[in-house]
Structures are given as structure tokens and as C-alpha cells.
Subunit: 139 residues, 2 copies
Amino acid sequence: MDDYQELARRVRAQGGRMTPQRQIVLEAISALDGHASANEIYEWVAARAPAVNRATVYRVLRFLCEANLVAPFATDGVMLYELVGARPHHHLVCRGCGHVEPIPAQALDVLVTALCREHGFQAELRHLAITGLCRECRQ
Amino acid sequence: MDDYQELARRVRAQGGRMTPQRQIVLEAISALDGHASANEIYEWVAARAPAVNRATVYRVLRFLCEANLVAPFATDGVMLYELVGARPHHHLVCRGCGHVEPIPAQALDVLVTALCREHGFQAELRHLAITGLCRECRQ
DNA sequence: CGCCTTATTGCAAATCTTTGCAACAAGAAA
DNA sequence: TTTCTTGTTGCAAAGATTTGCAATAAGGCG
């Protein structure tokens, strides 16, 4: 987990306030390997701060997404929330073993340029989750 | 909307049965420009067949997705359901005007081969929704 | 440090979505 | 057409997510 002061600064930069609830949600995601579902996050939080309400966790997650401290990405119907790190990236989600492999954003640059050239479309790819089979699960 | 007999045949090919509920859900999606949210579909169905239960609409949608008659794709947190047409494709969703532009699946082949070559990952891209700005909205 | 503004929270109720189970009905076979 | 099997539905209840509102408290200011 990054420095608390730094996170608080980024929250305030968005006109928001840093609260214990927002802090513990960030801690939860960090503790849960950097990415987790809303429910996993709530369970983790509730285990050490039972007073925190479920609705608050959902609202905090939405706020953190809008503040760009956390990024949502959809895998197989379930929405996962991930800490926004230093560099942008996407995900390869294996349908066999469930493993989530991050790949650098520039791996998709070839696609972005192709879309721009052929459709005049300026793609804004953020945390794309691509499902498929990883090397191991392909046997 | 395709021919009812043809749809019924495809449903039975999956070991399923064609029911009035499944038929009207397919009609609803067709009437709603070929893609709609679960709630939009339920509203449309409820307006002409009030006896159809909400739970049934959700179950029918899931069945149709598994039967490959309908494909789900996520845009901006909302799940949309789309009739599966003749050829596979993806979507360019403009964040400016909201326009949804279908593009042929092979437009992403370059990406699929790159992922396979560089990560040994066999991507299964189905109805990807790529957000960004279309030619017009880029001014 | 204490006050003030207003963003944020907790609570409860509203919505959206899923699930268990008994009754129903699609479609194959007689 | 009638019967039979079993996939589907409706209902109700559980679970997931959002929202309105009054009370709380973060953080700027004096």
C-alpha cells in the first residue's frame, strides 16, 4: 500500500475527504492481492471494522474509481476493483485456472493505432479484461 | 427478427425447449434495436405479457447467452444483451455521442496473434466493447 | 484550538438479480 | 392424440447494489 499521506492528498485533489472508511477500503484491496470483488472487500472490512456499512463500501468504491485511485474491470460478469498503480495495464484472465495476468498497456498499442487508422476511432482502453486460456491451461 | 422456426431449432439443438417466454424475450431485444439491458427487456415484455416473471427474464437471458443466440457485453458498468447475428463482431462505443459502431471480429486478429505470440495466451474475444471517441466527436 | 461548511456516513427502504422448490408444459415416443 | 419425461416457469425469499435523508465529522479558516 502506498503512503497514506499521498493517498489522502490525491483524494483531496479531487475535492474529496480522506476518511477511515476510505482508508480501510484501500487497505482491503491492497491486502487482497491488489484486486477484489465488492463483496470480498466488504467481508475483509467488516472483519476488522464491523461498524462500516455495506452501502458505504459500495459508495467508497465508486468514489475511488471516479478519483482514479481504483479501477474497475469486468471479468466474466463479476466486477473487480483494482488499485491504480504506477503504469497503465490490461489483464489476461484465464478461463481455466482463473489466473489474472497483467500486461503493459502498450501491448495493445497495435490495436489502438489500427482502430484509429481504419475507423478514425480514438480508443480509450482502460483496464481491459481479456478472457481466454493461458499457456498452461492450453495443455 | 429471424425466423421463429430457425430460432426454435437452434434452441432445441442445445437440448433446450422453445417457450413463449423465450420467444417474447427474443422479440423484445429485436424491437429494442438489437441490444438492450435486462431491465429494458423486462419492461418491454411486461408491457405485453404481464404474466411473465422477472426471474424468468433473467433466466431466459442467461440461457440464450449460453445457447449463443444472444451475447452479453458490458458498457460502462451496464450489461447489454445483443442478438447474435451472422458474423462475429465487436463494438466501438463513442463516449461523446453514445453511438455504437460494430466492427468485424477480424479487426482484432492482429491483437489476438500478438497475445498468443508474446504471452502464449489464447484470447477468446467475444463482443468486446471498446470505448473512446469517434471521428466526428474528435472535432 | 474551536467554528463552519458541506462531503460523507449509517440506516432503512427501494431496486436489481439470483435461487430453491413445487407445479406446469414442450416435445419425443407410442 | 395421449402419455411420459424432464426442462421451464412462477412464486417467494435471499442476496446484491443503489438511493433518500438526517446525523456525523473532515478539513479549511479565523
